[in-house]
């Protein structure tokens, strides 16, 4: 569309932005991560991850992020399928419904969950009212997963909904026409065709779930530490930037790994090779 020269000019502001606010901070983080307090190169801080507390937090973070991602995926597919089936002409209202929660401050909505799940929260009060046993819900892994799913589900629904609504209805009818029942239609046609959407959804849910510290702080009650909480503590309480940065670098490696994994297998090719 543009010639090379104009393109370069138009690109310049973005390049400056990316350099100043993305690339340079990244260098600093990596730099802090691999040096000690005297500024000498050292992998000591990175090595800290193998200490119990940190390793447990990392393990728990990856675990909960994975569970949340899978939960989002399992919730989003049927939801999007129903939405595209029922409301082919009313997509704007539907998409609005899913973007709306994004407008609400996530801190606020997570705090709302806190009051719902607390020992004397809404659910337990309701149970007491009915003379039913109360539950221990707050400060559990389940509460954190719930918070993650609630906060990040729209990031799964949106890309999935978009790629699902791009499938022409006649493609699905063709599958049915050729003998496919609903399950076969889903696994042989819908799933492969929406894989790109699912993959961006997975990335968009997994990364914030892996790095969150707000949700785990509010719904985990400081007892269940995720790697995000530990990094936050290193910066705000311990003032140990070196450890904080080292942990961030490790987190980044996990994120890059996730992105490599999700993009490595070409969805189109994968879908075609089903034998």
């Amino acid at each position: 569309m543009f010639n090379k020269f104009t393109r370069n000019i138009l690109l310049t502001p973005f390049l400056i932005w990316a350099g100043l606010f993305i690339f340079v901070p990244l260098i600093f983080i990596v730099w802090y991560g691999v040096t000690d307090y005297d500024g000498n190169f050292s992998l000591g801080n990175i090595g800290l991850i193998f200490e119990r507390g940190y390793l447990d937090a990392l393990k728990l973070s990856v675990e909960l992020a994975l569970i949340s991602t899978v939960a989002c995926l399992l919730l989003a597919y049927p939801l999007c399928l129903i939405l595209t089936e029922r409301q082919r002409d009313n997509t704007t209202i539907i998409s609005l419904l899913f973007i709306l929660p994004l407008w609400m401050n996530s801190l606020l909505s997570t705090m709302a969950w806190q009051t719902i799940l607390e020992h004397n929260g809404i659910i337990n009060q309701f149970m007491k009212l009915l003379d039913l046993p109360t539950f221990h819900m707050i400060n559990t892994e389940g509460a954190i997963v719930l918070g993650m799913v609630y906060n990040f589900l729209p990031y799964m629904v949106l890309p999935l909904f978009i790629s699902l609504s791009k499938i022409d209805r006649s493609i699905l009818e063709a599958a049915q026409d050729l003998g496919a029942n609903s399950w076969q239609k889903f696994f042989r046609v819908i799933l492969p065709l929406t894989l790109p959407g699912a993959i961006s959804g997975i990335t968009m849910v997994f990364i914030p779930a892996l790095t969150t510290f707000v949700i785990s702080a509010l719904l985990g009650g400081g007892k269940l530490l995720l790697i995000g909480n530990i990094i936050e503590q290193e910066f705000t309480f311990q003032y140990d930037w070196h450890v904080g940065c080292a942990l961030s670098v490790i987190l980044m490696i996990f994120i890059i790994l996730n992105m490599l994994l999700t993009t490595a297998f070409d969805p189109m090719k994968e879908a075609g090779d089903e034998h």
């Binding site: 599958a175 026409d177 003998g179 496919a180 969805p267 075609g272």
Partner: protein
Amino acid sequence: MKRELIHLENIAKSFGNLLVLDEIDLSIYESEFITLLGPSGCGKTTMLRIIGGFEMPDTGRVIFDGKDITNLPPNRRPINTVFQKYSLFSHMNVEENISFGPKIAGKSADYIRDKVKYALKLVNLEGYEKHDVTRLSGGQQQRIAIARAVVNEPKVLLLDEPLSALDLKLRRNMRRELVRINKETGITFIFVTHDQEEALSMSDRVVVMNQGYIQQVGTPENVYNEPENAFVADFIGDSNIIDGVMVRDKVVRIFGREYPCVDSGFPEECPVDVQIRPEDIKLAAPLEGAFNGVVTRVVFWGMSYDINVEADGFEWLVQSTTGRTVGEKVSLHVAPENIQIMSKPQSEDEEVAKDN
């Protein structure tokens, strides 16, 4: 006697307040090439989708081989569809597209390989197994769509305007191909088009539809030469349609003059529609023919001229291999056997149809 394969029994279908099909009663025979022909929006696609199982009729039944299949879902009908937009699976190559049906039916790998080969041969695309369907031309995609349907050995193939996206030359080619495939496989073809030339040149039988009603069912020659009403006459080929009155058997009055014809069986003084094909009208010197008039327009089409002649306040369309000049005085002559008498439409719907 041909065997009846599908029977549509008194089918009606509405979308909201819109009545799309009504009083549809139609027999479709084994191995025939039958075409649903009609203007845009007359309900052809809806009728096809009811046969395919993609729509439920409001009333009536779909009988297949003596069994009621009205409530059977599409995946359980021995019927396959070639969709207008081809609707190939973009995430699969040619071979995978074609083997989709047999795989679901649980056929063996050997069987599938042979069948894919056979199907590709049938549509003249041998050796295309590994091609990416999104890279194929429109005509090739259409052939793959046909192969993908035919490979399942359906009893019936539904085709919804499958040629409309192709250019004229390719379309002519594909018409021949489709007829050949129909004869070679013995599969019943139910073909939808709004192109009368397509319908006449391909079909064993044509179903002419308008505004949700079947207007006439017959062989191409039958619907062309003996249209049952003004709509059919007008829609298929060019026609002069004139208000007339049947004086008695074999005599019709048009423009105040009694004229011999070959139709009989109408009540005396019964109002009728009179159809005369433009190619059946001979131009003669003034006063020699039955109607005198003046040439108002001449259009050259290559093989023939379209000549408009105004006579008795009626604008006649005449086709002739020799040209005339505008303003020339001529007379028109029609042989009695070329005058087709049709009853006036009964229902309002048909009347509306005539005005269109």
